[in-house]
């Protein structure tokens, strides 16, 4: 019988790693992700998990260690937060380019401007173009689900890519919620042992990460880009298998909330979606047909699915939980990709974005009502006045 436990996002990530029977992990402390490593260390000490636990001297070393482990054929697991994520940045492209399907858990933390420790998605979002799979969970349950699903997709011989499994710091990483723990036998059926195609081994010597020529760089890039054309199919297969084996009902790409008749929609990723859903219930009571779309993946970006989900709305708001200073809207990142996803629709909804949930700020119900007011105004005026609003910092005159 499946067991139910109250787990924080960090504890759920560690449980996911345990059920995935990871073989090597490397740690270096930085809150809020640290609790994942504390849980793993405890599991190893208690004999619940047979795994090499290596202390790195920094995040760059951490990811280097798991790169080596993965190259030897181990299922490897690592994690970090905030400036730790950016300190390891050099490794991200080689890990993806060398096709090491290791997993990195990220519990978001604001990058230093200076020294804030709250949650903000900019740390992980900065690394979104390095060739990793990437997506945000919104509940501890989803953290565990994503841990297993990502290993399954990443280790698929058609894919062979590393994965960023992200969760909001504190809001998710440190707040417990009910999590259904699977049976190990089920997990083993869903996630067979990892088999590296060309592991480093004295028995069959191979060379990993050699110097290549400039004219070999472009085909390497094309090879990686071509892989991302296959990934969507693998994700859909994996989620269907997951739902079948664990008796769940996960959507492969998007969580859609009250979207059937929605006139205005919030597009939001991560745990703030939970507040958003409450706000939508209240807004509906007051007669505004609001809905929410939450992407479960940032890479690969679900272009087609987003276009279909938002096609019948009149106005859409991207709730940006990361920054893109000086970008197209001078705001966040999501609107760039949402714009590109909607551009080819015959009838595009109006589109704006809201900077909220930055630096660890809570996005309050009142903030969502403020956004809804602007969405309503856009529908009435049939135009977008501003492409970005800094919630709480707008001059209202």
């Amino acid at each position: 019988m499946a067991k139910e436990m109250m787990l924080s996002g960090c504890a759920a990530a560690a449980q996911g790693a345990k059920f995935a029977e990871i073989e090597v992990t490397a740690s270096y402390p930085i809150r809020p992700y640290t609790a994942i490593m504390m849980e793993l260390a405890k599991m190893i000490a208690n004999g619940e998990l047979d795994c090499e636990f290596v202390h790195g001297e920094g995040e760059h070393a951490q990811v280097s260690i798991v790169l080596g482990a993965s190259a030897c054929g181990a299922r490897a697991y690592v994690g970090s937060a905030g400036v730790g994520v950016t300190y390891a940045f050099e490794l991200y492209s080689p890990v993806a380019g060398g096709r090491y399907p290791l997993q990195m858990a990220i519990a978001d933390r604001t990058l230093d401007p200076p020294g804030d420790f709250g949650s903000e998605h900019t740390d992980a979002m900065s690394a979104r173009d390095q060739g990793w799979l990437m997506g945000w969970a919104s509940t501890p349950q989803e953290v565990l689900d994503n841990t297993l699903i990502n290993y399954r997709v990443g280790e698929d011989p058609r894919v062979m890519l590393p994965q960023f499994v992200c969760q909001d710091g504190y809001f998710l990483s440190h707040i417990p919620d009910k999590v259904i723990l699977p049976e190990l036998a089920q997990v083993r059926e869903f996630l067979p042992p990892y088999k590296a195609p060309h592991p480093l081994s004295p028995a069959c010597p191979v060379s990993h990460g050699p110097q290549i020529r400039p004219d070999q760089g472009a085909p390497m890039d094309a090879q990686r880009a071509a892989t991302f054309l296959v990934v969507p199919k693998v994700i859909e297969e994996a989620v269907a298998d997951y739902n079948r084996i664990f008796g769940r009902n996960l959507a492969p790409w998007l969580e859609k909330f009250m979207m059937d008749d929605a006139e205005v929609a919030f597009f939001i990723q991560g745990a703030h979606a939970n507040t958003c859903k409450s706000a939508i219930r209240h807004l509906r009571d007051q007669g505004l047909k609001a809905g929410m779309v939450r992407p479960r993946w940032v890479r690969p970006w679900p272009t087609q699915q987003i276009a279909e989900a938002l096609a019948n709305t009149k106005a859409v708001a991207c709730v940006e939980t990361s920054t893109s200073y000086g970008g197209a809207t001078r705001g966040g990142n999501l609107i760039h990709e949402v714009s590109a996803s909607l551009y080819d629709l015959d009838k595009r909804p109006l589109l704006t974005s809201f900077m909220a949930g930055l630096g660890g700020d809570v996005i309050l119900l009142d903030d969502f009502y403020y956004m809804a007011k602007i969405l309503k105004q856009m529908v009435e005026e049939k135009k977008t006045r501003q492409k970005v609003y800094w919630v709480g910092f707008e001059d209202e005159t």
Binding site: H198, S207, H208, R213, Q216, P219, A226, L229
Partner: protein, 109 residues
């Protein structure tokens, strides 16, 4: 949408290759060389200073012919061997002066 890599531009998956026993012939790295070292075998004393000083191990000793040999596939033209040679036996020659120079080849290697 499909991405197709032409046959003549194919690369190994993830650049993972069989381990080279001596040198990595799949990834030759000398096509940015501007000069190449030329050795005068008469002046050469077989002291192996070039062998010891080359960062890319491009000098080796041919025992049969009793002479130093240069590996054109990996030499970047850094000229350390020229500077270090105590017998002044190595000199720099512009790559463009050679018919087989890396700059002349339509597709280097």
């Amino acid at each position: 949408m499909a991405i197709k890599i032409p046959k003549d531009r194919e690369v190994p998956f993830g650049a993972i290759t069989p381990a080279p026993v001596k040198q990595q012939d799949l990834f030759i790295t000398s096509n940015w060389r501007i000069v190449r070292p030329i050795i005068d075998h008469e002046k050469c004393t077989r002291c192996f200073t070039c062998y010891a000083s080359c960062p890319d191990s491009c000098w080796s000793y041919n025992e049969k012919e009793d002479k130093m040999e240069w590996n054109w596939k990996f030499c970047k033209g850094c000229q350390i061997c020229i500077y270090e040679c105590p017998a002044d036996a190595i000199s720099a020659a512009p790559e463009l002066d050679f018919q087989d120079g890396v700059h002349r080849l339509e597709k280097p290697f």
